[in-house]
């Protein structure tokens, strides 16, 4: 858990980076700090592992004022991923991942096991272990960066524009992968980005920054349906409806199977049509609507592990959307 309590940071030259900021990142959740450049989001993140020190206020890490903790020890218990990745080019992938375990003195066999485990988690074969970072693609390097940050099993992960330097397709894939990984590791994550789309996708909660202050701290759905002021509205952009669809899962909207027994004639044939005539409950409503529009039937079966667990129609999407808008 991370708590900011009335935190202000003024640089020695008098620039106010952030002013009187308070927010809490609950254990096991992801909070995304988002805002234009120079708004203080990266500074806020660096206050957590004391790469920056607050001028006023307190940052609590798992309930303890982080000023009372030893800087070096604190940083070794917090995973850190940065945009430039910062892999060590003179070390192999395995050595890179093992950095923090080495620093805190794990024995070699435990380190080896952990490296194997992380390579597997990142969906990289163990052949990569002895390769050097420069031999890898941008996406692979970024995966190694995340693996390295997770190596010593930190409770907290700080990620500063981790997918910023990648092409859109790789970025999208890594975001999806990371969301899946996150479900397994249950780490408290503070994530910094300038992209509202990435924030909506990755965050359980989002803090929207504007020059040193948090304008709104809410769930993605709440931010989309109830933007607090004009700044937030502008920041979200015009296609809110579309974004709303992209952050909502089919599971939240679909009908249970029994409701549709009678309408079976309308249902697209899931079995012989392949994946395009069905959808997974974890897919976004955006993808659901796209598929509904591209088939001849009005109802799309929702399939999980080979079984139909529900149905999705255009009406569902519309009524979900209307109710979200009214809130």
């Amino acid at each position: 858990m991370i708590e900011f309590e009335d935190v202000t940071k003024v640089y020695p030259d008098g620039t106010k980076a952030i002013e009187d900021i308070s927010f809490t990142v609950e254990e096991g959740t992801t909070t995304v700090l988002v805002g234009p450049s120079g708004c203080g989001k990266t500074t806020s993140m660096k206050l957590v592992n004391r790469l920056e020190e607050p001028t006023e206020g307190t940052v609590y890490v798992n309930g303890t004022d982080n000023q009372e903790l030893d800087k070096i020890d604190l940083r070794r218990t917090i995973g850190y991923v940065i945009q430039e990745i910062g892999l060590f080019d003179h070390m192999t992938v395995g050595e890179n991942i093992a950095t923090v375990p080495e620093l805190v003195g794990w024995d070699q066999s435990r380190i080896d096991d952990r490296v194997d485990e992380l390579l597997e988690l990142m969906d990289l074969s163990s052949d990569y272990r002895n390769q050097y970072p420069r031999e890898l693609s941008g996406g692979q390097r970024q995966r190694i960066g995340v693996a390295r940050a997770l190596a010593a099993d930190p409770d907290i992960l700080l990620m500063d524009e981790p997918f910023g330097a990648l092409d859109p397709i790789t970025r999208e894939n890594l975001q999806d992968e990371f969301l899946q990984i996150q479900e397994r590791i249950n780490t408290t994550i503070l994530f910094v980005t300038h992209s509202i789309d990435e924030a909506l996708k990755m965050g359980d909660r989002i803090a929207i920054f504007d020059v040193g202050e948090i304008v709104q701290y809410d769930t993605p759905a709440e931010i989309l349906s109830n933007p607090k002021n004009e700044f937030v509205e502008n920041f979200i952009g015009e296609n809110q409806a579309f974004k709303q669809l992209s952050i909502t899962r089919v599971r939240e909207v679909m009908d249970e199977p029994q409701d549709h027994e009678s309408a079976s004639a309308e249902v697209a044939p899931a079995a012989d049509g392949g994946e395009y005539y069905s959808i997974s409950p974890d897919n976004s409503l955006q993808l659901g609507l796209t598929r509904l529009l591209s088939i001849e039937h009005t109802t799309l079966p929702v399939v999980e592990d080979g079984e139909v667990i529900g149905y999705l129609t255009e009406d569902h999407v519309r009524s979900y959307f209307d109710s979200a808008g009214e809130q």
Binding site: L51, R75, E84, G86, F88, H90, Y132, A149
Partner: protein, 224 residues
């Protein structure tokens, strides 16, 4: 062309006819170069590390070093004479001073050229300042530092010829007295063997660098 070939051949013939003397001069030359270089490296690298760490020390150290390098080698040798007299020691000191700068400059540049993101990551992962230096910055700077050592060694082989002027011995004995006596085979014998020495030392250092690099940047260079 034919003149060059025949003079070179006559140089080699001269060398073969004076082998005992050749070994003696070569040994003196090598001791001068290698010992002064080793001492220079062992002092220049720590100085470079200190300078790279302290912004205030960096420019004085670099400017003193730069000034030292603008003094011609002959002048350094000549300057040593009134202070330390004749013989091995003044020659050695002059070579040492002359070898210092390239190594130091390259140490500083090498350490400074490590990417900011890399250092940031190391810091954020909880490395102390010393750990960042020994595990990250120094290994990454090693190819640049080695380039400095190689340059300075090759220059050093050339400068060591001048040691003969103050009685420091070495291959300069053949070259300088050969010029005075207009004994071209003798000049060539001295010059060629120095050139071979410079090339050999450079190759040896390259091999050492690769060896060290097997756990480090060499493979990065291959991939780059």
């Amino acid at each position: 062309m034919a003149g060059v070939v025949s003079t070179t051949l006559s140089g080699i013939r001269y060398l073969l006819n004076h082998l005992p003397e050749f070994w003696e001069l070569l040994a003196e030359h090598m001791v001068l170069v290698i010992v002064s270089e080793m001492l220079a490296v062992s002092i220049a690298i720590p100085l470079g590390v200190i300078a790279a760490r302290h912004e205030k020390l960096k420019s004085p150290i670099l400017s003193v070093g730069n000034v030292a390098q603008t003094i011609p080698p002959l002048a350094v040798i000549a300057l040593m004479f009134p202070i330390l007299g004749l013989g091995f020691l003044p020659s050695f000191v002059a070579l040492f001073i002359y070898a210092l700068l390239p190594v130091m400059v390259n140490t500083i540049t090498g350490l400074e050229s490590v990417e900011e993101g890399t250092i940031d990551a190391a810091k954020g992962m909880g490395m102390t300042q010393n750990e960042r230096l020994t595990k990250i910055r120094f290994p990454l700077a090693l190819p640049v530092i080695f380039a400095g050592i190689r340059t300075s060694t090759v220059i050093n082989v050339g400068t060591a010829y001048l040691a003969f002027f103050i009685g420091g011995g070495g291959l300069g004995a053949w070259v300088i007295s050969g010029i005075n006596l207009f004994n071209m085979p003798q000049v060539f014998a001295g010059a060629i063997s120095g050139a071979v020495l410079a090339i050999s030392l450079d190759l040896i250092l390259a091999a050492v660098e690769n060896r060290l690099g097997s756990t480090g940047p060499a493979s990065a260079q291959v991939a780059a």
